[in-house]
Symmetry: C2
Subunit: 402 residues, 2 copies
């Protein structure tokens, strides 16, 4: 098993060769899922002024120490009000949620603890000084960083951007990813079958979806024949893309031409085969300025697994994400799992569910690498480490949710 690169080493090599892409400016409504390339600071104190947390009456706390207290209502403050009243001893201002606290007042009595009577309000419960008042700047101070560089923009961050008056922000650019299948036998969707030995494509479309899921911009370049000259011509387009992915052509077959072309194309190969199952034949190299080449296996499951393990983190990291891996959790294995050859680390497709405070895991019965059904019917990879031949029902296993 020499010459097989362990997964950790492969990941280290890939991530060492990733630099976040340059930034671009996007509007809030396009920003979901993007990563901030700048610190966003608050344009004002938040709240901008002392205001009422309730509908009720703004009063001097001194006046409601003893209750019931009868206060003269001298006016009304609604949210967005422009009035200029002053609360003096024995008076109150009727106030709505969000309205500024009038001068002189320091406390708000919620409406449900009051009664009105001929222009007066009777306060029936006392409150501590400052009750129901939101203080200027108690959430955020002007100039304070409200969303740091490197944070992913979720809906809450979109709201926060609006609230600090940032219509446009800098985020890291999405990588353009070229996707090329290879193989004389591969038919594209809707292409007519002319020989019984032809196989309908799937890799270009699985990988297209995986690129989208990781936040990249996929470009489906179709299917290249197993002819070195034609293949090389098509692959000269690698420089148009930040990442170039091929499927097929990197195994040990004589007709696996991709591996023989990469050096001619100026790709600096960092590793070829991996100590994992499926997806042993994975070729990784770098070219141009921080551009990445992934030669994935042709088997549908192998290609998908290799993408999830290696390409997904690279696409995430290029966009500035801090968390670049799919979620890894511990699950209880329901049923035994055995394998003969324990040389490689295996990523067994499995079904994972959460029940009674723990994750549980059941491997899918068909694990062959040409069976896409094993992915369609699963939602996680169960990790079987090198040297492990057997996993027992009830033991804890590591799973990667997808």
């Amino acid at each position: 098993m020499k010459n097989l690169t362990p997964l950790e080493e492969a990941l280290k090599i890939v991530l060492e060769n990733v630099k976040p892409l340059e930034s671009e400016r996007v509007f809030i409504h396009e920003a979901l899922g993007r990563v901030l390339a700048e610190d966003v600071v608050s344009d004002t104190d938040k709240p901008l002024f002392d205001n009422s947390a309730m509908d009720g009456y703004a009063v001097r706390w001194e006046d409601i120490k003893e209750v019931p207290a009868k206060l003269k209502v001298i006016g009304e403050y609604a949210a967005g009000t422009g009035e200029n009243l002053k609360v003096e001893k024995g008076t109150a201002v009727k106030i709505f949620t969000g309205a500024p606290i009038p001068e002189g007042a320091d406390t708000v009595v919620p409406v449900e603890y009051t009664e009105t009577q001929d222009g007066y309000v009777i306060v029936k419960k006392s409150f501590k000084q400052g009750a129901n008042v939101r203080r200027r700047g108690e959430d955020v101070k002007k100039g304070e960083v409200v969303i740091p560089k490197g944070k992913e923009i979720r809906p809450y961050e979109m709201g926060m951007l609006a609230s600090v008056n940032r219509a446009v922000v800098s985020v890291y650019r999405k990588p353009h990813v070229g996707i090329l299948s290879t193989g004389d036998e591969i038919l594209d969707v809707c292409e007519e079958q002319t020989k019984p030995s032809q196989i309908r494509t799937s890799n270009n479309y699985t990988v297209y979806g995986q690129v989208l899921q990781a936040g990249g911009i996929p470009h489906n370049l179709g299917i290249a024949p197993d002819e070195p000259q034609k293949l090389k011509e098509i692959m000269r387009s690698i420089h148009k893309y930040d990442i170039f992915i091929t499927t097929g052509g990197v195994s040990m077959g004589e007709k696996d031409y991709v591996q023989y072309l990469v050096e001619d194309l100026g790709i600096d190969v960092k590793f070829h085969k991996l100590r994992i199952k499926p997806a042993k034949p994975v070729l990784f190299g770098v070219y141009g300025e921080n551009k990445l080449f992934f030669g994935l296996p042709g088997n549908p499951v192998s290609a998908a697994v290799a993408f999830d393990l290696l390409v997904y983190p690279a696409i995430k990291a290029m966009q500035g994400h801090r968390e670049v891996f799919k979620q890894k959790v511990t699950a209880i294995l329901e049923g035994d799992y055995r394998r003969k050859n324990a040389d490689r680390r295996e990523f067994a497709r499995c079904r994972v569910w959460f029940e009674n405070g723990r994750y549980h895991c059941e491997p899918y019965p068909k694990q062959d690498s040409h069976m896409l059904t094993s992915l369609v019917n699963s939602n996680a990879y169960m990790v079987v480490y090198e040297g492990v031949n057997e996993l027992k029902k009830g033991q804890e296993v590591e799973v990667i949710l997808f």
Copy 2:
């Protein structure tokens, strides 16, 4: 606390009033995250023909029972080959992965267990009959359902669609969602502040992102003033949308006009206030043909929480999703949590992380409902049930990941 609807009851009412929308046809590349509105069946057996799982030699198993065995190589089968050779006693065909098994052969010997010699191959290891052969239909039979109606399309399903030659499939339509803020004091992004008591918007943008995240099509209808006639005019557009969401105007204030207008607009109100914290004032009603109205509170955190708990599942269900809720898991509480009033079920913003096989949870120190920072700095809601005043460090709590 009477008149407050418990969350379960509210959810039941909302989901009872959701029907999946009609279906539409989309191409594979647009199908990510959509839900199939039809069963997808396989157009052929998969594999379509017996083929080799390895590069090597196709042989008669009888001929390699005893090894070493010397066999005459009568030709070569590559993937996509059109040749027509027959393997007879004492012969073999050189074969590549994916190539059809030639007539007469039943077993493939991987190339690494062979040696070639002047037109002959020497097989050095015996294999069981059928070894390294993928049998026709062993993954999927023609006409078999490969992706059932109601399943979400992930990248693997995109590959599967291609492999069964389905360029276009039926999925449930995405709902159009109108989003309207209310409040005289609310300034839109970039709008000039003319009075100190004005507040910059956030709700329209948080909700916009939340609708996108749930898979809906958001329409930002801006900010309506607290004037019943104008508000009513704007809200007449509810019939253009599958879901209409307002923020503000449903609390107990006299200026909370939304709640007084809904019946005039033909909205059949199913519940108003909820027994939850934050987000007590939530108004839900139905109108037209299975259209949903959500009057959410004006406080930024309350609006976001109410959306995540009630609107998110509704948008998911309208698109045919079976799993409509955000992921709920159990976590170990790190630190005590206390509250005075235990009347309502609380959704405390918290930080959750996975460590040593378990989730852990730490509530964010600021929980006021106007503080958007509590969401920006959190990744989950900790659920504090009705009647619970205190949670102890180390105990298990329920959290909803967002």
